[in-house]
Symmetry: C2
Subunit: 80 residues, 2 copies
Amino acid sequence: MKAKVHITLKNGVLDPQGKAVEHALHGLGFPSVGDVRQGKFIELTLAETDKAKAKSQVEAMCKALLANTVIENYTVEVMD
Amino acid sequence: MKAKVHITLKNGVLDPQGKAVEHALHGLGFPSVGDVRQGKFIELTLAETDKAKAKSQVEAMCKALLANTVIENYTVEVMD
């Protein structure tokens, strides 16, 4: 079973990396770009065959390691 | 208009960051996890109101700055 995890900064948390990308895009001729936020995207496979169990396992991984839940949100998507 | 960009390493390109995450997950009690690949996820807004134009603008940004097309793939999703 495969899972996709998106980890994004919570609203209100400063994103200097996103700001740097935004600034660079302005300089490269894309002046209309705004609100750039950069997050992480993680793909993984699991031996688990039950979709609900797989999802809860990946959520446990997010809490334990993948995301910093103080400043980050995560979403988990599980597919066959 | 909002856009979401996923930037992932091409198949066959080594992903030491993903390997490190996989190793850490094994150590944290998730032995069945494999094939961990870590990519980037970028959200941005555009002043452009035409969906097709917005998409091609974001693709130009990917080529110019966001992705290293030698080793990375990108996908662009544009929404209102």
